[in-house]
């Protein structure tokens, strides 16, 4: 299945219960302003819950599954969009129902929101909505940019909100026949539960041998820059090594109790080693408390690795001409691919542009230069911000005149990504040939 089709399928799943609602609605439900507002209120409730359930299905990180959707970061983006649509619909849901009551009287409107008799269903609905607001507040930066660990902790409340929303729906829903409604919500809930079960059960048992969660040991650490460490990880005896492709990333959990911060905390890092290497390598830049602590992790300490995730590069060999544009630590996925291509020593047509502030921060320059010197078809161009300013069309045309005909891969900080994507699009590079990878709390 192609990526756009797979993503469309998710939106279709989200819309299906609303379509059934509309098909089964009767003329009387649209016969007056009050009736229409009431019907729309119930419709937004059903649509909001179904988008919430589809977003929950995507909350599981099943290694390999994300490839169908263009990689885990793209899948997270869809998850984020589905949750946003669900949130907007569920905010509208009680308001429309109350407005419907207001057409009769103020008391009637308020009794929809805060019923005096049989208050349980509405109360549970309120609880679900308030819990949803709490766990989504960091995701949508309601009160400023969140800390990663706090965001992860609060996000676990999503399960509570979902269960409350389902109870609320079962107590009140009457639009779709009860049997069909039960089947529909059970199916959606079952899929979401399966995803979560995998997350908490199967992946921990390493049933997937070379995927899922694996134990590794830190056996080496090098410092390509003062604020970047490249960790070398060795798999545990009698345990399979992680199978991955260049450009993919892992979730990494250190268990070094001497760490100043981040003990047993999970963070995503890009793999920098080539898939054929015996040991796994990741490059970590000092960007926060945990990544700062990792700069001095103890050799010999144990870590947990989960993955691989991502689909930055296509699977298989390098068969087309490629343009790589990397900003700072964004060189990591390219480094993995460059090491892989160098190991295979096959025919390549790659132009790599590494954008850094100055020569002192030219991360992995020497190794990439070495690869460029011995691998025909591999060209390295350095872009220094202090000398050239932000990268622009003239720079690209000057150093890689045929860039418009290449498949373009871009990885770096968000401002650079935005800038390069703008240049490529305005130069006529089709969107399907522009591939980006960014690691952000969306």
């Amino acid at each position: 299945m192609r990526t756009p089709t797979a993503n469309l399928l998710l939106w279709f799943l989200g819309l299906l219960p609303s379509a059934i609602f509309l098909v089964t609605s009767t003329e009387t439900e649209w016969s007056s302003t009050a009736a229409s507002l009431n019907t729309l209120g119930r419709l937004t409730g059903i649509a909001g819950l179904s988008f919430f359930l589809v977003a929950a299905m995507l909350s599981s990180r099943v290694p390999g599954f994300d490839r169908k959707f263009g990689g885990l970061t793209k899948l997270w983006f869809t998850h984020h969009q589905l949750a946003a649509v669900s949130f907007l619909l569920l905010l509208t849901h009680p308001l429309l129902l109350a407005f419907s009551g207001m057409t009769v009287s103020i008391d009637a409107g308020m009794s929809v929101l805060f019923p005096g008799s049989n208050p349980a269903p509405a109360l549970i609905g309120w609880l679900a909505l308030v819990v949803m607001m709490i766990f989504l507040a960091p995701s949508f930066a309601f009160f400023g940019e969140p800390r990663y660990q706090r965001w992860k902790f609060l996000h676990k409340l999503a399960g509570v909100a979902l269960v409350l929303a389902l109870i609320h729906s079962f107590m009140l829903a009457r639009q779709i026949h009860f049997l069909w409604q039960s089947i529909l919500w059970s199916l959606y809930t079952g899929l979401a539960l399966l995803a979560m079960l995998f997350r908490w059960g199967f992946s921990k048992r390493s049933w997937f041998k070379r995927h899922g969660q694996l134990r590794y040991q830190v056996v080496g650490a090098s410092k390509p820059l003062s604020n970047v460490v490249e960790l070398e990880l060795q798999s545990q005896p009698q345990q399979a090594r992680l199978a991955y492709e260049a450009g993919q990333f892992i979730y990494f959990t250190p268990f070094d109790n001497q760490l100043a911060a981040g003990y047993a905390e999970e963070h995503p890092y890009t793999i920098s080693s080539a898939p054929e290497e015996a040991n796994l390598r990741i490059a970590v830049k000092d960007l926060g408390d945990s990544s700062r602590a990792l700069q001095s992790i103890q050799i010999g300490s144990l870590v947990r690795v989960e993955g691989p995730y991502g689909a930055f590069f296509p699977s298989g060999d390098c068969t087309e001409s490629e343009l790589w544009i990397a900003g700072g630590i964004g060189i990591t996925p390219f480094l993995s691919r460059a090491r892989h291509l160098a190991a295979k020593a096959g025919k390549v047509d790659v132009h790599c542009i590494l954008c850094v502030q100055d020569e002192a921060r030219a991360l992995y320059h020497d190794e990439l230069k070495n690869i460029a010197d011995r691998l025909p078809g591999f060209v390295l161009t350095m872009h220094y911000f202090y000398r050239e300013g932000a990268i622009n069309t003239a720079f690209l045309q000057g150093h890689c005149p045929d860039f418009m005909g290449r498949s373009c891969y871009v990885c770096g900080p968000p401002p650079m990504l935005g800038c390069v994507q703008g240049i490529l699009r305005s130069s006529g590079v089709p969107s399907k040939r522009i591939h980006t990878e960014e690691f952000n709390l969306l």
Binding site: L95, A98, I106, A108, S111, N118, A141
Partner: protein, 116 residues
């Protein structure tokens, strides 16, 4: 998307606060006065059709003729209760759960008197 969600979040609580404030300022509304009109069960029983439907609910008489076609579950649901005591229908919907507070409020529009 972040800005849109935050705006909706603020708009939501503003709307709720406005409704609560209006409700508090307006005070309790009383059911429509019906000038002490009373009807016997026999009189109510004369209005037992889709074109002329009265019901007795908890000692009060309602003329639901105009509402029948607007019932969310269709006019047939209410028809069997026309012309008679219908408290059970209102309280159980015929299978258990009570009607919502909203439905009870909405019903007051159709109040025409008390059962004698």
């Amino acid at each position: 998307m972040k800005k849109l969600c935050f705006s909706a979040f603020i708009a939501f609580w503003s709307s709720i606060a406005t409704m609560v404030a209006i409700h508090a300022l307006a005070g309790q509304e009383q059911p429509t006065a019906v000038d002490g009109a009373t009807y016997t069960p026999q009189e109510i029983a004369e209005h037992a059709s889709q074109d002329d439907c009265w019901m007795a609910i908890e000692g009060k008489v309602y003329d639901f003729t105009d509402y029948l076609s607007r019932h969310p579950a269709g006019p047939g649901t209410m028809l069997s209760w026309c012309g008679r005591e219908a408290t059970e229908g209102m309280r159980t919907k015929g299978y258990g759960p009570d009607h919502s507070d909203f439905a009870w409020q909405q019903m007051q529009e159709y109040l025409i008197g008390n059962v004698e």
